[in-house]
Amino acid sequence: MSNLIESFGDFTGFWMVLGQIALFTLVLLISIAFLLLLDRKIWAGVMMRKGPNVVGPFGLFQSFADFGKFLLKEIVIPAGANKTVFILAPILTCTLAFVAWAAIPVAPGTVSGTSWVVSNLNVGVLYLFAISSLGVYGIIMGGWASNSKYPFLGALRSAAQMVSYEVSIGFIIVTVILLTGSMNLSAIVENQSGGFWNWHLFSFQYFPMIFVMFPMFVMFFISALAETNRPPFDLPEAESELVAGYQVEYGSTPYLLFMLGEYLNIVLMCAMMTVLFLGGWHGPFALGDVVKDWPPLLLSLSGLFWFMLKILFFFFMFAMVKAIVPRYRYDQLMRLGWKIFLPTSLAAVLIVAGYVVYTGVQS
């Protein structure tokens, strides 16, 4: 029990934790509304369209209008569907996408050595990995419970796809853990302080490792695309083959939950890349003396600013990939996952482990 209570970060008070959770949820929901609009705007920009521009100035309130529309629609459950599982699937997807955020440290704490995080777990990376590996259940359950061919095919595809890319994601995470020597996400972020050359992406403090970590970062990005079912790996919902895959039979609020979960997962993946490879809340230059006299709250907020900026950058990349890259063929997807990413990431784990043992940076 004591470990569990200790793991609740800086504030042990129950209400404090509850307040933190409410704050995280609120901020996430509002930012998702605007990120969705950003996604559509970027996509429209690439296609030389205007995108949503009617509701509010520049279409800023489009997401809220959509939200209202989804809520007011009638929930249709197909006659042959398995009712409980059918309703449970989108709820599960959405809940898991929220739950994972508990371990993400968003900014340095006002007291040195702490961070703004709901639960500062010792096994934070594993927790994230475990929760994201559960995400596949929402899709399988939704596809199966719809009792229809297209959703079922979509569910089977996504199950195979997500399980295979999880393997390579796991190994890539292991390389970061090896370099840091800790599974605590705050410790991983702290390990990358001192300037952008110390981010794990470049890992200048472990000099030759840039030749391993940079490819690993690119592979993590591609695997994240596959893991969140984003184009070019959106085969579970490939509209030209499966109509809309596992969500064919969904409408109204359940569909809203699916979409919310999907976008939350995308932002979560962006946050994971930020924390693991791009130095989390650290700015690109260590300002040492300049910020020495700043109040701690301002430092925290500047950390939050950098964190959000990096997430936005990754989200922009996700949107651009969606707009530009054509969809993969399914066998190519599997080949990429199992025959290219898996051996490469395994080799990287060996190289990084050898480096860590040889130079003894961790002992």
Partner: protein, 179 residues
């Protein structure tokens, strides 16, 4: 609920719930690392494949129900043995106060403790288990892999090595003449 559910897919979903709750129990006794591994390995990978198989199989529910009565006595016996064991163990625990459980003996975190035990103390046994798994994997592949003659296969190297000049042949015929 795993065995009581009528629908096998529901059974698997309840099984996943059981895995998940046991992971929760592990967190409560302070073994977070084991709990996360349980979720990643069992819930995230093994149960997905399990669910996959059960969904694909078209199970006949009536046929499944038929053998129920004849297996019932044996099932009850096994259940009773397990129940007795749990009751006895918990009473023994209450008497001897073995509730003080050290999740990470002799190490800072329980990940380190597991590493010490598995990769240092029982290194050879661990390697042996790995080899047994590898052999069983190779065995399964050898048993199921068949090379059917005459099936068309894709050669990825061939596909990616294809250049534009191999596939296209641009002609510029003047009007009134064929190629």
């Amino acid at each position: 609920m795993v065995i009581a559910a009528r629908n096998p897919v529901h059974s698997v979903l309840f099984l996943i719930l059981a895995f998940f709750t046991s992971a929760g129990l592990l967190v409560l006794i302070g073994a977070e690392f084991l709990a996360m591994l349980l979720v990643v390995v069992y819930v995230g990978a093994v149960a997905v494949l399990f669910l996959f198989v059960v969904m694909m199989l078209d199970v006949d529910f009536v046929e499944l129900k038929q053998g129920f009565l004849s297996y019932l006595p044996f099932g009850l016996l096994v259940g009773a043995v397990f129940l007795a064991e749990i009751v006895l163990a918990s009473f023994a625990g209450l008497e001897n106060h073995v509730s003080t459980f050290d999740a990470s003996p002799g190490a800072e975190t329980n990940a380190e403790a597991i590493g010490q035990v598995m990769y240092t103390q029982y290194m050879l046994l661990f390697q042996l288990a790995g080899i047994v798994l590898l052999i069983s994997m190779i065995g399964a592949i050898v048993l199921t892999l068949r090379h059917r003659p005459g099936t068309k296969r894709q050669s990825i190297a061939h596909q990616t090595a294809r250049r534009r000049s191999d596939a296209f042949d641009l002609k510029d015929p003047s009007s009134g003449q064929g190629i």
